[in-house]
Amino acid sequence: MKTASGPDPNLVSLRDRPSTAARAPSGHPARVLISPQVLLPGLAVLIGVALVASPFLATTVRSVLAGPEGDLVPSLRNFAALFQDQRFYSALGVTVVTGLAATALSCFFGLALAWIVARTDTPGRSWFDTLNLVPFFLSPFVGAVSWTYLAAPNAGLLNAVASRYFSSPADFLNIFSVGGVIWVLALFYTPYVYLFVIGPMRRMDPALEDAARVHGAGFLATVRHVTAPLMLPALLSGALIVFVTSAGLFDVPLALASPRAINTIPTTVYSLVQYPSDYGKAAAIGVLVMAVTVFFALAQRAYLSRRSYATVTGKGYRPRTVQLGKWRYAALALELFYVVCGVVLPMIALIFVSLSPLWTGWPDFARMSLANFDQVLFHHDLARRALVNSLIVAVLGATIGVLLGTLQSYYLQRGRSRLRTMMDSVLSLPLGIPGIILGLGILIFLIRTPLYATLWIILIAYVARFLPLATRGISAMLLALGGDLEESARASGASWAQTVRLIVLPLIKPALVAAWLMLFVIFIRELGASILLYAQGTETISVAMVILGEQNFGHVAALALVQTLMLVAAFMLFRLTRSSILES
């Protein structure tokens, strides 16, 4: 080896390589400015910011404008009217109560089921690991509708069974109640908590628990001093998401509370936009909800930065399974109870109703036929249109979402801008905003443009609301990937475009597929973001179910089953590609 005296020619030639030129702008400043590497991700972020900011701004501006349409003047009258309205407070109360109760119940189910699957010897664990996630993909709205077939007073299937065989009163169960809303929300948000806690439960170093046992703690003391505190951050994250999402959900209260004139904040916004509409008051509610969302986002950020043991480190540990003994059957019973209530019963009810020409509250097997499906798929104009519209919006929206999400992730994970952390916060804001509030913002923003009453406005609302999900999933994968692989491609002489095409995209493909399927599932079933934006001709499946709800149970059930089949198909594909998006 030579001694290194004087400049080494190898070093000089390395410095001229394009990979390092971007880092040291002194090399080729002109190229850096216009390179697609900076331009495309930056553009995607700008679009994302616009999608967040415009409904925010439009809502805020509209909330401080009052007066007759066409003669609006700046005023705080909307807020004044809202704060004097007793119905606002009762809606707020119902929203908070249902949100909190649904969160508590979801946490109980999610934690218990995750523990059963991850840490016990309960039979059928691997099956339940999949089954517990099914409600995650099904539509809460369809769940609420099918629970009305099951537990409507005097007409529900379960009430009928109870009164036939146990001679209980026929209104033994009443799904049209605050309790009913809580019940259905809890069933459908349990998988969120489950997903949040099962990862840490599986990844936790079993030695942490072993150490407690060896040093004198019994099983319960170990759970109290070690396991539970270590699970707490994940549980709280899950609980926060469940609370924000379930409190902001529009469709379940619409199906279960509105028929009894019980209102939540989202259903109040919906009725304020119906004729005779009061956009000002609706916008005032929107501003308040958005403020709460921002508050939650900031609180979560502060909490996350404070706790230093966020990640329970792990490298493929095999956690010790707890031998439950006879309690295995109790665990199995809880698992079965959840799966039966969350999946099996609603599906049975939907099948019965959709096959019955006239639903009377009890299946008449002799008269069952596929007539409802025939109607919905081939004859009923509204239903057929809705199916086509939903498919268009879902396929197009998921594709646009994944495209933008990929570019945004690239900006967040690989960009060199100092704004990245701030952008990360801004771009994920819509995650906490109820769909109907965001829909309201988009409506106010675009109502006077040609986009109004087209499918495009629905598409924009969907992408604005759910894009952060795609960005997060893809970001997580990019982060896990690390930059070395790309840098070595650049060092080998590949351009940025070639690196993305040949290295990055193939490697993050699982996350892309998962994000696409996730967005597809959400767009097929979403109601809150579209209910204010649809017009004659641009109805989606869920909107059609709302419209048909008052006319024909059979058509609604058939439509719901068709939608469910689409979701189940996506779920199957999802299990095949199983990737990091669930954990992100």
């Binding site: 170093d205 072993d210 046992r213 060896v214 040093h215 703690a217 001093h225 043991y309």
Partner: protein, 408 residues
């Protein structure tokens, strides 16, 4: 350090046990999903001493340790700690881990990330409902002992790897357990820190005199820290000896190989000598007719034609340019250098001697050119022999001979 006597447990006196063996592990068997992890492991630990379980990964040493702690339930066997039989498959006795009154240091440290250093260390006392004032006093004492004085209020995750290791150690000692278990405690530290911690652990051991079982795959750790070393392989005890005995005269080819006898050749006894009460001098002829003198220290004298393995360490091979006379009775051969790897203070050499390839360590300051003729010598007392089965060159084949080969 005083040993606490747990209450309400079966008395050893009734079993007529030898009081000098504080821990007794008998006939431990365990299989995981059909593969045998332990195939009958037995050993004893004398009060106040440390026994190391040494072996390659997957040999079952950690399973033995976890069985003693109660974290693993063996399929068969018996474990006694002090006067207490904590596990007996025949009598269906199996104490929960928390009832076994031990301390344990885990390979991953297992320092609880949601607690401070003091909370971690004080945990065994807190669980035993010791008064808060006494806890803080004893935690302060033990933190000082492991060199962490004043760090009690730090979050445990705020420490370096070496410091976390000390927290784990302090936690395992604070309640003055009757037995301390170490599961490869130093394997996650970098080499320099490992050497330092090894010395500190030794000092602590001498000072506190606790009884310990120490699991490691590192022979230096085992030799440095234990009064007795149990070498394990494939779920079986290959041999048990004091460190010096183990290092100088390993009982089986496997132990020899594991402890650095990196030259090992099959051969047969061509000239058995007379034992005369001491080791029996033997001459061994290796495959290609090369003859080496050695000593056999087993029970039965070896006969002419006995199939053996002959082994010696590369450090004990002398390399000379040919002129040096060498001491009388040495095994001397001429060979040629095949390769040498310079490692600073010394260099690793591969020497071709006839059909054999001999590993040797040469001084760092001389040069060995490939092809160079060189004189190789090794003293008979540095060579060891093991009997082996007739058509069996595999070291595992001699596993059953370990009792003959053990110390007398």
């Amino acid at each position: 350090m005083k040993i606490k006597k747990p209450k309400g447990m079966t008395s050893a006196a009734a079993d007529g046990r030898d009081a000098s063996s504080f821990v007794e592990v008998t006939g431990l068997r365990k299989s995981f999903d059909g593969t045998m992890a332990l195939q009958g492991v037995s050993f004893e630990v004398t009060l106040g001493t440390t026994v190391s379980l040494l072996g390659p990964s997957g040999c079952g040493k950690t399973t033995v340790l976890r069985s003693i702690a109660g974290l693993e339930t063996p399929d068969a066997g018996r474990i006694r700690i002090g006067e207490t039989v904590v596990f007996d498959s025949e009598r269906r006795v199996s104490f929960a881990p928390e009832k076994r009154q031990v301390g344990m240091v885990f390979q991953s440290y297992a320092v609880w990330p949601h607690m401070t250093v003091a909370e971690n260390v004080g945990f065994p006392l807190k669980i035993r409902r010791v008064a808060a004032a006494e806890i803080s006093a004893r935690v302060a004492d033990v933190l000082a002992l492991v060199g962490l004085e004043g760090l009690g209020r730090r979050p445990a995750t705020n420490l370096s790897g070496g410091q976390q290791q000390r927290v784990a150690l302090a936690r395992a000692l604070v309640h003055e357990p009757r037995l301390v278990l170490f599961d490869e405690p130093l394997s996650n530290l970098d080499a320099k820190l490992r050497d330092q911690m090894r010395t500190e652990l030794k000092l602590l051991q001498d000072r506190l005199g606790f009884t310990a079982v120490y699991v490691t795959h590192d022979q230096e750790e085992a030799l440095a820290l234990s009064d007795n070393v149990v070498v394990m392989n494939h779920g079986l005890v290959e041999g048990m000896a004091e460190p010096r005995e183990l290092f100088a005269r390993p009982a089986t080819p496997f132990v020899a190989d594991f402890l650095g006898f990196d030259n090992m050749f099959p051969g047969e006894v061509s000239e058995p000598g007379k034992a005369d009460g001491g080791p029996q001098p033997v001459e061994v002829t290796l495959g290609d007719g090369m003859k080496l003198r050695s000593f056999w220290r087993g029970g039965e004298p070896l006969r002419r034609g006995a199939q053996v393995m002959l082994a010696f360490r590369s450090e004990r091979v002398n390399l000379g340019s040919g002129a040096s006379p060498g001491s009388a009775g040495e095994n001397r051969f001429e060979g040629s250098v095949e390769a040498s790897v310079y490692l600073g203070a010394y260099q690793d050499c591969l020497i071709r001697v006839g059909a054999l390839q001999v590993r040797a360590v040469g001084p760092g300051d001389s040069t060995f050119e490939p092809g160079e003729r060189i004189l190789v010598s090794v003293r008979p007392e540095d060579c060891i022999v093991f009997p082996r089965g007739k058509n069996d060159n595999d070291e595992r084949g001699t596993m059953n001979d370990k009792r003959q080969g053990g110390k007398t």
